[in-house]
């Protein structure tokens, strides 16, 4: 593999960097800048901001996030499989079944362990 083949990628990278710099800074350079306290406050859908942004929240959310990955990964793999279902035939069906079985074991485990219950 030759290094020149990477040239288009390098050009794309350069364009992306330059363009994003322009987009970020052009309004700052060209536009008027007259700050007030209201303008500088964080944007919360037009409401008056209440409280700091960094707050304590239940550690259970982390568990939910981890459990979510189980199904997230499932979808990531099932989506491309659904396109190739015809070509892969029985082999694909068996492979995906094994994959789903493994995930199901994880699901049964978290269910029986009570990880899905909030209280």
């Amino acid at each position: 593999m030759l290094i020149e083949q990477y040239l288009p990628i390098a050009i794309l990278l350069a364009i992306a960097i330059v363009l994003s710099l322009i987009v970020v800074f052009i309004s700052r350079i060209m536009g008027p800048f007259r700050p007030t306290a209201k303008k500088l406050s964080p944007y919360e859908s037009g409401m008056t901001p209440m409280g700091p942004a960094v707050r304590r929240f239940p550690v259970k959310f982390y568990l939910v996030a981890v459990l979510f990955i189980l199904f997230d990964v499932e979808v990531i793999f099932l989506l491309p499989y659904s396109i190739l279902v015809q070509d892969l035939g029985v082999y694909g069906l068996i492979t995906v079944s094994i994959f789903l079985t493994v995930l199901t074991i994880g699901f049964i485990y978290e269910w029986k362990k009570g990880a899905l219950e909030w209280e």
């Binding site: 593999m1 190739l84 070509d87 892969l88 035939g89 082999y91 694909g92 079985t101 493994v102 074991i105 049964i108 485990y109 029986k112 362990k113």
Partner: protein, 499 residues
């Protein structure tokens, strides 16, 4: 699109690993329905599964001389003598690890069924490490091996030491996995393949992208160096070994290390014979530094678990001595069989040593200082005798497995010394540091036999499971020490022929 056929998958060749993988998933679910006070049943079921896998493996080993090497999963996996031998070691260490845990976990009040499932998961990972013939398989197996071990080291949830062990092991382990993957990526970039044979073929053909593949190889060495705890990637070992529950420490001090070496030897010898000079010199340097650091630092330890951690670093150095001789193609086979034999002796001996530590450890996890061995010969003569055997074996003194292992390892290095003076140096450093190691191993023996301990010291009762583990490791250490002494040449020839 190419769809693999049943012939190219050749599932029968990897049947033991598949049986164990399926059984582990099943055990995880079955364990959910076993009440908390009956978790010993999970342990027995786990041993049953390992036994069934062992039977399948035994059938394979029996047929091996007739069938020979086999490929499976379209060449991703290779079943040869090397893989079969290592799978046997992994099954043995898993069974012994579970037997020890069966006694230890209830005493510490941490018996949960997941412990046994996690050991099985790690064992499946180790087995695929030995079977792998492709860098991607090595990586997936490495993760399957490592992640359960992170959990096992943090298994005493309310103990800060165990938490620290789990966290440190996880962070550094994840870091080293990243090194490994980056290495695989660079090798793929340099050679266009991740198959071990493919990499070797490309490197033999043209040296166009050799630098890229060489850097990748170096990164693989870093990643696997972490797993086997070789200098300078050993930093995590003492803290993790000390903080983790002793049953887990004993298991991971052999399981993870042997699996790491399984992949390291296979990758370097199969994929990089073309760059043997480069990695040969690296491995020699790491081996010398690892042996010196492990043995010298172990002297100053007062905690038995920590001392065994440094000793396990030192033993990684001895295995690297054998690996460094594998850089010469004509010696590669002899060197890898020496390493294999050494790993077998190390597995049995080290598990035994940790079983003894478990036998004197108190229910709150204290009582594992070297001072606590004082007077053990009077209060627990059988356990003290076992420890004497294990310490002799770890030192490498005669009539023990360790002596035979060291003989093979240093022997192959000396055979290679005519090719490069560095091999002579590494062998000399190995012998000298073995002498140094006698100091700290014999200190435990001195404590047990020469010093009077606390008369009222109460040791926990040894239950049948731990007793069995102690007996198996003790007898194994002696048998491996005696038989090859009688049949030395025959054993060596058989080992080489079988691989």
């Amino acid at each position: 699109m190419d769809i693999p056929t049943l012939e190219s998958l050749n599932l029968l060749a990897v049947l033991p690993a598949i049986i164990l993988a399926a059984y582990t998933g099943l055990l995880l679910v079955v364990d959910l329905f076993i009440p908390n006070e009956n978790k010993q049943r999970t342990a027995l079921l786990a041993i049953l599964g390992l036994g069934a896998t062992g039977v399948a493996l035994g059938v394979q080993i029996n047929q091996y001389s007739a069938i020979g090497d086999q490929m499976a999963f379209g060449g991703l996996v290779i079943v040869d003598g090397y893989a079969l031998f290592l799978q046997g070691i992994f099954l043995l260490s898993a069974i012994l690890g579970i037997l020890m845990a069966m006694n230890y976990l209830p005493r510490r009040g941490i018996e949960r069924g997941e412990y046994y499932s996690l050991i099985l998961f790690t064992t499946v990972g180790s087995m695929f490490m030995a079977l792998a013939n492709d860098l991607m398989v090595v990586f997936v197996a490495l993760e399957l091996l490592s992640i359960p071990l992170y959990v096992l080291s943090a298994f005493i949830r309310d103990d800060p030491g165990s938490e620290e062990a789990g966290m440190k092991y996880f962070l550094l382990g994840a870091f080293s996995s990243a090194f490994f993957v980056y290495g695989v990526a660079l090798i793929y970039g340099g050679t266009g393949t991740t198959s071990l044979d493919g990499v070797a073929a490309v490197l033999a053909g043209e040296a166009l992208n050799l630098p890229l593949a060489l850097v990748g190889m170096g990164l693989l060495l870093v990643g696997l160096g972490f797993k086997v705890a070789a200098f300078p990637f050993h930093m995590w070992t003492p803290d993790v070994y000390q903080g983790a529950p002793t049953a887990a420490t004993g298991f991971m001090s052999v399981g993870a290390k042997v699996a790491g070496f399984a992949a390291l030897i296979r990758v370097l010898v199969t994929a990089f014979p073309g760059a043997a000079q480069a990695w040969g010199l690296l491995v020699i340097a790491i081996a010398i530094l690892t042996m010196i650091l492990g043995n010298v630092t172990a002297i100053s330890q007062s905690n038995a678990k920590r001392m065994l951690a440094y000793s396990s670093i030192a033993h990684a150095g001895y295995i690297l001595v054998a690996l460094s001789a594998a850089q010469f193609p004509e010696l590669a086979q002899e060197a890898s069989s020496a390493a294999l034999f050494y790993m077998l002796t190390y597995t049995i001996t080290n598990l035994g040593a940790f079983a003894v530590v478990m036998a004197i450890e108190k229910d709150d996890g204290s009582g594992v200082e070297i001072e606590d061995f004082a007077g053990l010969a009077k209060s627990r003569p059988a356990v003290a005798l076992m420890m004497l055997i294990f310490m002799l074996s770890l030192t490498g003194l005669p009539v023990s497995a360790g002596m035979v292992g060291k003989f093979f390892v240093f022997g192959v290095a000396i055979n290679a010394a005519s090719q490069s003076v560095w091999l002579a140096i590494v062998a000399i450093v190995g012998v000298l540091t073995s002498v140094v190691s006698a100091f700290y191993y014999m200190r435990i023996v001195y404590m047990m036999y020469m010093r009077d301990g606390d008369e009222e010291a109460e040791y926990p009762a040894i239950k049948p499971a731990l007793g069995t583990a102690l007996a198996v490791t003790g007898i194994g250490t002696l048998v491996l020490g005696f038989l090859p002494t009688l049949l030395f040449d025959a054993a060596q020839r058989a080992l080489i022929a079988g691989l």
